[in-house]
């Protein structure tokens, strides 16, 4: 709720405040424009809107003047199918640079903000940058800036402040992921016959369908994905070590289940020549000695 109010405030009056912030951070000493063109981007359906946005971008670049595209729509091919993306805003500079603007409601206090949230915003913006690059490739004089403008409330107020975020790294990672992503048909081909994720199906059928898909769970998924609880339950049911975290799994080499690790540590299973097994046995022995208390453990009193 509050986020929308803030966003509306930033974009009010033809985006004067937004442009002022942008020029301040990315304008290299230029003056903020008194006014910028705010083209109408309405159209029917996402395809229509995407086409309208591309047209507006071309026109604005050709005009050689400032333009603010409010809630543009961009298309990006993901795994063989188009995905439609909606950045908060894109600004066209007179020199043909296109800058992605993301407006968020977490605050920047004394110039710094929650690094996890900034990282998420950077990854989100990088996808928009990639989508814009597709259009820029066929637009003369256009270049997509790899610096995005992140606009947030300043300190404890509702006044906007902004910071420039360089998204080249996130862009490179996403670009590579997109190239690698299997086409949707290929993913579907690997699933059992008749699997469907149609939300109108019964929960049991959906549950079975979701179960059919192999999951790669890590606790970090909990903050990022709605299916995480399902994947976690599955990992726990299998006794998978990774439900305890990636760094835990990293220590245990080829041992992947809780039962397997405990058996190895207890000397019931596992090859003593395996360094993980040897280390686990030493760890178990040292721990047992310490817990046995005075006499068993030696404290430095």
């Amino acid at each position: 709720m509050r986020g929308n109010v803030f966003e509306a405030k930033v974009k009010a009056d033809g985006g004067t405040e937004l442009l002022r912030l942008l020029v301040e951070r990315l304008g290299h000493g230029a003056e903020a424009p008194a006014e910028a063109k705010v083209p109408d981007l309405t159209a029917a359906g996402p395809e229509g809107r995407a086409a309208r946005t591309a047209l507006a971008l071309r026109e604005a670049t050709a005009a050689g003047d400032w333009a603010l595209l409010d809630h543009p729509m961009l298309a990006l091919e993901v795994a063989g199918s188009p995905a439609y993306l909606e950045p908060d805003a894109v600004v066209v500079h007179p020199d043909g640079t296109w800058t992605v603007v993301e407006i968020k409601s977490f605050p920047m206090v004394d110039g710094s903000a929650d690094a996890a949230k900034v990282g998420a915003a950077a990854r989100q913006s990088a996808v928009y940058v990639l989508a814009l690059e597709r259009i820029a490739a066929v637009t003369e004089g256009a270049e997509v800036g790899h610096q995005v403008l992140l606009v947030c409330p300043k300190d404890f107020s509702n006044l906007p402040t902004a910071s420039v975020v360089d998204v080249r790294k996130q862009r490179a990672v996403t670009d590579r992921q997109l190239t690698r992503l299997t086409r949707v048909e290929d993913i579907a081909a690997a699933l059992p016959e008749g699997t469907t994720f149609d939300p109108d199906r019964s929960p049991e059928e959906l549950g079975t369908a979701v179960e059919a898909v192999p999951a790669a769970y890590a606790p970090e998924c909990l903050a990022a994905c709605e299916l995480a609880f399902h994947c976690r339950a599955k990992a726990r049911a299998e006794g998978a070590v990774e439900s305890l975290g990636r760094s835990v799994r990293g220590e245990l080499g080829g041992l992947t289940t809780v039962a397997g690790v405990l058996a190895a540590a207890a000397g019931k299973e596992g090859d003593p020549a395996d360094p993980t097994v040897a280390a686990l046995r030493r760890a178990a022995a040292l721990r047992a000695e310490a817990l046995a208390g005075v006499g068993g453990g030696v404290a430095c009193r």
């Binding site: 409601s105 760890a283 404290a299």
Partner: protein, 542 residues
């Protein structure tokens, strides 16, 4: 995470309850900690909604902000918070004892001992989780630059008296919490996590309810109890175990809180529109009712967390306190006293950003504190020492042989050679130093040097290696070592490769002498410039 902690986690999964990571308590707990459970509104920049605060678990004080957007109500909350917290802090600030400190005399440049006051004890603040610590920092930052009517009669929207002072204290506590091993401001989750390993990941361990379910399961499986704590909802869709905060659960916000706040708003407008005294009385009654409802809702989600924090403290008090935790608490007392002195001296509040020298000093002192903490916890606790032994940074061995030897100098000192048999594999190199504690002394240690691996036959069935160590100090002044100062055959001794006491780093230049490489001295600051209050807008959150 060491393999020993990993093993503990896996054992927890297997057994259904948390496993110990420590045999003593590694953080000091005062007799009367002040517990603070804050709550903020939904949204990313949360405005304060309410809090429970107090030193008596049976009698928490409930603070509430019925309309978080209202600046006056917010200020009233902050004023009440100051009233709840400052007297507690000040009671400790006033009780002092004499102490000595080493200082450098500016005239001679030599170290001298100076008599100063040290607070006999310090106020300890406990919040439920790390998010709570972040919120304490946020409150401190928002409050400490405010002006009261006393500071500046013309200031727009003056803060209630004592609020800026509270801000300074909270900032000090929030900053101290960044020092490894400090206990002035603690999160209950951190406290519990330090001492127990659950069967879930450390991310999930940040949920206080789930964490306690593992450590103290209400009969049956810790895993099931933890899952219920995380996810179970009642018939109205409300979480049985509300989040520890400060963020609230969206189901609570949308279904219960928002309508209640709306009723409050309507009651307030209605009161404003009252036509006569009788009308006003009725409407005032309705307004009070609306406010009570909000307070009751907040209490409902705050009390479970309040109780959880106290339960956590109970569990921790069952562990005996580590000897060296007391020493670290003394450093906390110095920190507390230092801030008290700065307030008394009328110094300005902490600046928004550290200057170059302050930042470097903080980094260096925290690194020293971390090394000190790591060493001290290992020395206090065999289970922690076990982790260092696994890492090759300590070892336990039995003395098999002692051979007298002396240093080659005009006045020879004893340098006995001790052979120790151990099954462990410490990372020893030529002349690596190792240390052992001396009887009962938490600080002084005896140093030895690794000479070589022992040659010679092992007896049948004996495992491990023999290490020859040369004892270097703490044997008195004579040619022969003082009795009892040298290990004897048969002694079983723990040796560490890390020092028992850490030296601080070199002295950094004063901020006025910040060199050109780091931007020169921070800009000349006129009186009142550095602590300029934040500009005030109609839509402030805090």
């Amino acid at each position: 995470m060491s393999l020993i902690s990993t093993l503990a986690r896996l054992e927890a999964v297997d057994s259904g309850r948390a496993q110990p990571l420590a045999t003593v308590r590694h953080r000091h707990l005062t007799d009367r900690p002040l517990v603070l459970v804050p709550l903020t509104t939904a949204g990313e920049a949360g405005a304060p909604l309410g809090a429970l605060v107090g030193t008596d678990r049976a009698a928490p004080r409930l603070l509430a902000v019925p309309q978080p957007r209202d600046r006056d109500l917010r200020f009233a909350f902050l004023a009440e918070l100051a009233e709840a917290v400052l007297p507690h802090i000040e009671s400790y600030a006033d009780a002092v004892e004499p102490a000595e400190r080493n200082e450098v005399d500016p005239g001679t440049g030599k170290k001298v001992k100076v008599e100063v006051e040290l607070c006999a004890d310090a106020a300890q603040l406990i919040v439920p989780s790390r998010a709570g610590i972040d919120f304490v920092r946020l409150l401190g930052r928002s409050m400490r630059f405010r002006r009261t009517v006393e500071d500046d009669p013309d200031t727009p929207f003056p803060a209630p008296a004592r609020v800026p002072l509270l801000g300074r204290w909270l900032t000090h506590y929030g900053e101290r919490a960044r020092v490894p091993g400090s206990s002035l401001l603690l999160a209950a989750t951190d406290l519990v996590n330090r001492h127990w390993a659950t069967g879930q990941s450390s991310l999930e361990d940040q949920h206080l309810g789930a964490l306690l379910a593992w450590v103290d399961p209400p009969g049956g499986s810790g895993a099931e109890a933890a899952l219920r704590a995380e996810l179970e909802r009642d018939r109205d869709g409300q979480l049985i175990c509300p989040p520890a905060g400060p963020a609230t659960d969206p189901a609570f916000d949308n279904k219960l809180l928002a309508p209640a706040i709306e009723r409050y708003d309507r009651a307030r407008s209605a009161l404003g529109a009252a036509e006569d005294g009788l009308d006003a009385d009725t409407r005032l009654g309705e307004l009070s009712g609306a406010e009570r409802e909000i307070r009751s809702l907040l209490a409902g989600v705050l009390l479970p967390t309040w109780d959880a924090v106290w339960r956590g403290l109970d569990l921790l008090r069952e562990l005996p306190e580590g000897t060296r935790a007391q020493d670290r608490w003394t450093r906390d007392r110095w920190s507390f006293t230092g801030h008290r002195d700065r307030v008394l001296a009328g110094e300005p509040p902490q600046p928004r950003r550290d200057d170059a020298v302050t930042a470097a000093q903080k980094l260096a002192s925290r690194e020293t504190a971390q090394a000190q903490l790591d060493a001290q916890e290992a020395l206090d606790d065999p289970l922690v020492l076990a982790g260092r032994r696994l890492a090759g940074e300590a070892f336990v061995g039995e003395v098999t042989e002692v051979e007298m030897a002396y240093s080659e100098s005009k006045r020879p000192s004893p340098r006995p050679l001790v052979t120790v048999r151990t099954e462990e594999r410490p990372h020893l190199g030529e002349r690596t130093k190792v240390y052992r504690s001396l009887d009962g002394d938490p600080v002084r240690s005896q140093t030895a040097e690794f000479v070589a691996y022992a040659t010679g036959e092992t007896e049948d069935g004996e495992e491990g290696v023999g290490l020859v160590l040369r004892i270097m100090d703490r044997m008195g002044r004579g040619k022969e070592p003082a009795p009892g100062s040298v290990p004897e055959p048969g002694d079983r001794i723990a040796w560490t490769l890390f020092e028992h006491d850490q030296r601080g780093g070199p002295k950094l230049p004063d901020p006025e002498d910040t060199p050109w490489t780091h931007g020169g001295p921070p800009g000349a600051v006129g009186p009142g410039t550095a602590e300029r209050p934040d500009p005030v807008t109609p839509e402030d959150l805090l």
